[in-house]
């Protein structure tokens, strides 16, 4: 973990309304501006600017040697990024979609996550692997996996997922500054969501945040599930329940302090995530909360997650995805005898 230093003062106005994709693009540009060891590469990140346009303009602005397309091979992208990081660069690589990061899995698990530990810190590999992940965009098979559990379970990786443009900007800047490798998971569905971004705001990896106050129930979510959780909290308010929402933000390592305090205050918790629930990050959060807040819990910790099935085809994804109703139903089960 690294505590982030102050962000350099940008020439442009510090505060702007940006989409999450725009905020990430801005973070990449500002990081490349601030540190010329930062290089961006992957598939279609150059002239095209990425299939989601997240790297738009970087090649034009920083040149071919700072932002370039590679041969079409994910293990090659991550493996060469490891070598570059070993040799003083700070690579930020893009995996085009969640499921297309799987060919790089050996490099991620056996080297990205372990090189620093293997060498007793003599050779750390500061690099960022950006992965657009999750569904809700009507994508066909292999374009909508929520693959965070594979990374969060792997010791040595830092796994981050923002839910707002501001966090996307600040957390990516922090990730690029980190001495440790970071898997930066970008919720595709939120790429076009807008928000104010103050580029002078810094974020600390490893910290969750309470994004909505509440006294009756705590909803714990990350990525795409955060706006859904907030919407559910608002709906619950109309039913007279005060629901708190925690955005985990860093999936690994976990911020127990914030989450445990939040749950202890309400005594009721629902964990929300889009990934299949079995042996997932949601399982971990539920298990931790159930153990650490045991004596505070009025009801079992509920999980609202994806089903344990392959991600749904476009026409069925609305049945698969956690939504407000499903969260409200889960909240109801926390009050077996009504309120």
């Amino acid at each position: 973990m690294t505590l982030i230093q102050d962000a350099p003062q940008a020439a442009r106005p510090a505060v702007e309304t940006l989409t999450m994709a725009g905020a990430i693009n801005r973070a990449l540009a500002d990081a490349m501006e601030a540190d010329d060891t930062v290089v961006v590469f992957g598939e279609d990140v150059g002239a095209l600017g990425g299939v989601f346009r997240v790297t738009d303009g970087l090649r034009a602005r920083f040149g071919e040697s700072r932002c370039y397309d590679t041969p079409l091979a994910e293990s090659g992208i991550v493996g060469t990024a490891v070598g570059m990081a070993m040799n003083g660069m700070h690579p930020v690589v893009e995996m085009q979609f969640d499921a297309f990061a799987y060919p790089a899995f050996e490099q991620v698990v056996s080297h990205v996550a372990k090189m620093g530990n293997r060498t007793r810190g003599a050779l750390r590999v500061p690099l960022v692997i950006r992965i657009p992940y999750g569904g809700g965009i009507g994508g066909v098979e292999h374009h909508c996996d929520s693959s965070e559990a594979y990374y969060a379970h792997t010791p040595g990786l830092t796994v981050v997922s923002p839910s707002t443009p501001q966090d996307a900007y600040s957390l990516l800047r922090a990730a690029i500054r980190s001495e440790d490798p970071v898997v930066f998971l970008e919720p595709k569905k939120l790429y076009w969501s807008k928000g104010e971004v103050d580029t002078s705001v810094t974020a600390t990896i490893g910290t969750a945040s309470v994004v909505r106050p509440g006294t009756d129930v705590t909803l714990i979510a990350y990525g795409t599930s955060v706006p859904t959780a907030i919407a559910a909290a608002e709906a619950a308010a109309t039913e007279g329940r005060s629901v708190q929402v925690v955005d985990v933000r860093t999936l690994a390592p976990f911020d127990d302090a914030t989450v445990t305090a939040a749950v202890n205050a309400t005594g009721r918790a629902v964990v929300i995530a889009e990934a299949p629930g079995y042996a997932s990050v949601a399982s971990e959060i539920a298990a931790r909360v159930a153990e650490r807040s045991f004596s505070y819990l009025e009801a079992p910790v509920r999980r609202v997650t994806g089903f344990d099935v392959p991600y749904a085809p476009p026409k069925l994804e609305h049945f698969y995805l956690p939504d407000v109703d499903r969260i409200l139903d889960a909240i109801d089960t926390l009050y077996p005898d009504g309120e």
Binding site: E43, D44, G46, A47, L48, G49, V51, D69, T70, P71, L72, A73, S75, G76, A99, F100, Y102, P103, G138, V140, E141, H142, H143, Y278, F307, D308, V309, P310, A312, P313, P314, K315, L316, F319, Y320, V324, D325, R326, L328, D329
Partner: protein, 365 residues
């Protein structure tokens, strides 16, 4: 220097039997296919082109989620299928819908993936066509294992595995080529080199003289062919398939063609290529070339031309009609096929969803 295995290197120039104008080119090694085959091929080309046009239209009308067009690559699509015997198998990619339909898969079943009601819409065993693969080069390994099983059982079966130029950079391409050569399985690797992997040009995929130069590194022959020249494609693929069928092992065929349209409707190719480059390839259109040749030969009569046009129209109409019919989706399908027998865990989850749907029936709470 010279080497015993040197004949595994491709020719310096792609095999061509018809030039861009449709004029026959003499070739030492390959002969022009017979009239009927060429007419059948032309027919398939016209239908293939029509399928591409219709699918693009269906995307615009919102009936298809996405469509990776093979406009300009129809000769490759058609040849890959025409070279197969009935018992043979085809392993296609997302780009190869025209090949899939040419092989006999009903358009309505072929388009299920791109319409989004399921991940694949046809029974592979019925048409001897594997599912259209999205993860690049992964299907090449399936093709090799599939052919290996046939070889172990001594069956007469050849597998034609398709991939693009970009896919050759993946580790799975390497492993598939190598397994195929080591076990001498009856597979023909057919690479449609259309110069682009989305926005990335061929020069970023390889520094080799050609992709076919990879074959010798596995101990199999590599050949290059003009990918917009149907007769040449048929001649080269027929030879490769015959070789595989005779127990001669795998080979690699690289077709030089061009992706004349954007990667998919979601792509904007003006960001990464000059339209002049595209124009240069439009002048080498595989259909025009065949039409010119067949007309000069007087094999293609006005009557036949309009007969084929009508047939193409019929296929397009079928495609449009099935796509316009709303697909019925059943949420329980999410749980039905994950395991051969649904697990208690999935029973429980389906019941939860079913209850939820019943509760929220008639709108949300």
């Amino acid at each position: 220097m010279t080497d015993a295995s040197e004949d595994q290197l491709p020719r310096e120039h792609p095999v061509q039997l018809l030039d861009a104008a449709g004029t026959p080119v003499a070739d030492t090694g390959y002969r022009l296919p017979v009239k009927d085959r060429l007419l059948a091929g032309y027919r398939a080309l016209v239908i293939g082109r029509r399928i591409n046009d219709q699918s693009n239209a269906l995307v615009r009308q919102g009936r298809l989620a996405v469509y990776p067009s093979s406009h300009g690559q129809e000769a490759c699509q058609v040849a890959a299928v025409m070279t197969l015997a009935q018992q043979d198998w085809l392993f296609p990619t997302y780009r190869d819908s025209v090949a899939v339909i040419s092989r006999g898969v009903p358009p309505g079943e072929a388009m299920v993936l791109l319409r989004g009601d399921w991940h694949s819409g046809y029974d592979p065993k019925r048409y001897r066509v594997a599912t259209q693969a999205t993860p690049l080069a992964t299907q090449l390994l399936h093709a090799v294992g599939f052919a290996h099983a046939a070889k172990l059982r001594g069956e007469d079966m050849v597998v034609v595995a398709l991939c693009g130029d970009g896919a050759t950079s993946e580790g799975d391409f390497h492993e598939a080529m190598n397994f195929a050569a080591v076990f001498q399985v009856p597979v023909v690797f057919f690479v449609q080199n259309n110069e682009f992997a989305i926005s990335v040009p061929l020069s970023r995929q390889t520094a080799a003289a050609s992709l076919a130069h990879k074959a010798i590194g596995y101990g199999m022959p590599g050949e290059r062919v003009d990918g917009n020249d149907l007769p040449a494609l048929l001649a080269v693929l027929d030879a490769a398939v015959a070789r595989a069928r005779a127990g001669g092992g795998p080979s690699l065929v690289e077709a030089h063609t061009y992706r004349m349209q954007a990667h998919t409707n979601a792509d904007d190719d003006t960001r990464y290529r000059e339209q002049a480059d595209v124009q240069a390839w439009i002048d080498r259109d595989p259909l025009a070339r065949m039409r010119a040749f067949l007309t000069a030969k007087k094999w293609l009569t006005a009557a036949l031309e309009s007969e084929i046009a009508a047939e193409a129209e019929a296929v397009a109409t079928e495609l449009r009609d099935v796509m316009n019919a709303e697909a019925e989706v059943d949420p329980e399908d999410l749980f039905r096929h994950v395991y051969a027998q649904r697990t208690p865990q999935l029973d429980e989850q389906w019941e939860a969803l079913r209850d939820e749907l019943e509760r929220t029936e008639g709108g949300h709470r």
